[in-house]
Subunit: 431 residues, 2 copies
């Protein structure tokens, strides 16, 4: 046998796209959703604020005590010393939530944490520094052995929040602290971006839904569909309404119909699988027919194949986004958290969608540099460094379960123990 | 006026308890809940696994291709070179989810990522390295210019998970990756610890619910109740069922009744406010009467006052936990995430409840050491260091909104720029 005359040129490698370029392109297409809704502050955890929160009051509302003790006029105590204490009558008692009377010269007020400082008082003395007694008429007396500095233990009105200040701006993702802050300003309801609606499709002949076939009865080549499980959880954590539309139909006409229908009522159609060069399914030609599709080869590992497109709707001014993730579980997981997560946050109006990174020491070795930017699953250890999971396979999520984050390793880089590397925590990537 | 004969000795400062000691004491009391329930894997995000997950299958199930390309017998290609390629007929095509036929010597198989490697094949050659052609009978031919190493681009059966291996152990908190891993083993349902039931009370005459009084009509000394908003969100993130029981009744008998009722149906009764030395409310004597109560002064800032106790139930072998947090918002928030969070995770059976910490450089100065361990609200900056929020007041949550974590500063410590400090991320503390 002799060499054949080639009928196809060797496929030239498609040039790889940098991850940052892919992210920029995705974010540029993410026009924030215009619709808002009003929700109870109690139910706003994880939502994105669509209004500016301006404080209508000072926090704290008045000067108040930051200690349990005695409100005094410093001038009354100017001569106080341990050798010669000053003794003054306790003429009132002010608890949090109650207003006292103006403090007369030569008197002091018992006061508790958070209680308003009475007019005339200019310092608080901690109760531990006061000796109590009683006069002949049972009048409570307090003995002071030092003069406090003016303003001691007084929290000033507006010290934490000034009336008129913007405390939260539109595009803020709300968490427990933000809800507490909004409540402290008296806000029982908040205007937030509506939830993005995401339709989730899976693709792949080999995929079997857990629960339908027991492990011992799995056909050769069959694997369980795991991607839709973590994708749905990740989408819900980002505030999305998820429609799980199951497996993509196995013919072109039905696929076109399913995508057309989903596009009318969803902001994003998300698939996993079917985006590699060699894979054949009906999704790619259907999306191309219904709108447009770019097939990227992203210079990241795990990851690489990634599809981004859109599907037109009946309304010509409106479209649904389409994103196709790779089918390998870890590739799907990592492209989701590094690309789809910021896309969905931006869709809700979040400005800063970057994941915070730390620089930490590697407690491992990478001897073989990769031409792609690598995201190695690692775990923080008790010594303050990062341990590497031995099996960086993209076929199963054991590495993402064992690890608590990834090292973002530039292309062409090796690592020696002690090298400072860039760490992204799953706690940040999955929040 | 002369100094009175003291009728009360100066209150000696109650010795402060170390935070670690408080945590140990809390965890020692947290007997994990015995009840479990079976939930769909789809709905198990955030729950705690109450079973051991042992894989009933290999992952991957068979040797399979990790590339799109051609399955070959290396022996057929031993003489291949660029100058003298070896040309072999392509006799079958194997896609993911399909099994091929045994590979006959002198033939190759077209194969796609994830597809089972046919019997007899011992390597995969990437499609980019193969030239295609056709023989006179239109038989597809593939031309190879090199011999691959044995095993090239083959993922071995069981490489990621071996049949019989324990992949998740009881007490694992489930997140998206864990759900995906469980699904990849065929598990559509999981046995998890039941949700802890938490009754939330607020205390404080000065507290006004947002929405009931507008800011301009707030009475002097009145402040909005913000703690119940963030506490409810934090509890829900930990998988708890929350009953918000509102403000503690303002008399002893009603308080005793409310606590008695709540204790019958809840695992934890959580209050905020009313635990400082000087504060007077009905909670403390009521809990003392109904079970027992320890009032701690914890050596942490913000924080310090903290109450831990229990309330007996009708069943003498069972009790409800009681935890009283300080009333200042940031004190309440920080004692929750540092003490109540690990307590509630342990109650669900989580063994390792410690928050992962990083060592990062301070980009700020602390000149005045505190006698308490301080938790300073900070934010990671673009230079890889930590910036300090200027106002570390515990009165309002602005610092926790601005920051993305805290520096855990030992008692008696000052900080200079560049010092390595211990950082705890809110993403970890709030997850």
């Amino acid at each position: 046998m002799t060499a054949p005359a080639p009928t196809s040129a060797p496929p030239t490698r498609q040039p790889l796209m940098a991850l940052d370029q892919a992210l920029s392109s995705l974010l540029a297409s993410a026009q924030p959703l215009a619709d808002t809704e009003v929700v109870d502050t109690f139910n706003a955890d994880g939502r994105v604020l669509a209004q500016s929160l301006v404080s209508a009051l000072h926090v704290p509302p008045q000067d108040n005590s930051s200690m349990d003790g005695y409100a005094v006029r410093c001038a009354d105590l100017s001569s106080a010393s341990a050798a010669s204490p000053v003794v003054l009558p306790v003429t009132q008692r002010i608890a949090a939530g109650h207003s006292g009377q103006p403090l007369q010269p030569g008197t002091v007020a018992r006061i508790f944490t958070g209680a308003p400082v009475p007019a005339g008082a200019d310092a608080i003395v901690m109760q531990e520094e006061v000796v109590l007694g009683a006069g002949p008429d049972s009048q409570p007396l307090a003995s002071f052995s030092a003069c406090p500095p003016t303003g001691a233990w007084i929290r000033r009105a507006g010290e934490d929040v000034t009336r008129g200040a913007e405390v939260l701006h539109p595009g803020t993702r709300l968490g427990p602290a933000e809800l507490g802050l909004a409540a402290s300003l008296g806000l029982a309801q908040l205007t937030v971006c509506r939830r993005p609606r995401v339709a989730l499709f899976s693709t792949g002949d080999e995929l079997v839904m857990p629960g339908t076939v027991p492990p011992e009865a799995m056909a050769p080549g069959a694997i369980y569909n795991s991607n839709r499980f973590f994708l749905r959880a990740l989408l819900q954590r980002l505030g999305c309404e998820v429609s799980d539309l199951g497996i993509v139909p196995d013919n072109r006409a039905a696929t076109v119909q399913a995508l057309t229908d989903a596009a009318q009522t969803h902001d994003l159609i998300l698939t996993s699988g079917g985006v590699s060069v060699g894979e054949e399914d009906h999704i790619k030609p259907a999306v191309q027919q219904l709108g447009g599709l770019d097939l990227w080869q992203i210079a990241m590992k795990p990851g690489k194949p990634f599809a981004h497109g859109h599907i037109r709707r009946a309304d010509p001014h409106s479209l649904a986004h389409f994103i196709g993730l790779p089918g390998n579980p870890v590739s799907s997981f990592m492209t989701f958290v590094l690309l789809v997560r910021p896309f969905l946050l931006r869709l809700q109006g979040v400005a800063d969608v970057a994941c915070p990174a730390q620089t930490l020491p590697a407690h491992f070795t990478v001897t073989k540099a990769d031409r792609r930017r690598e995201f190695l699953r690692v775990r923080r250890n008790a010594a303050g460094g990062l341990d590497l999971f031995a099996n960086q396979s993209s076929g199963v999520l054991t590495s993402a379960v064992w690890g608590d984050g990834v090292v973002d390793l530039p292309a062409g880089t090796t690592v020696a123990p002690g090298d400072a590397v860039r760490f992204l925590a799953f706690a940040d990537l999955l929040a």
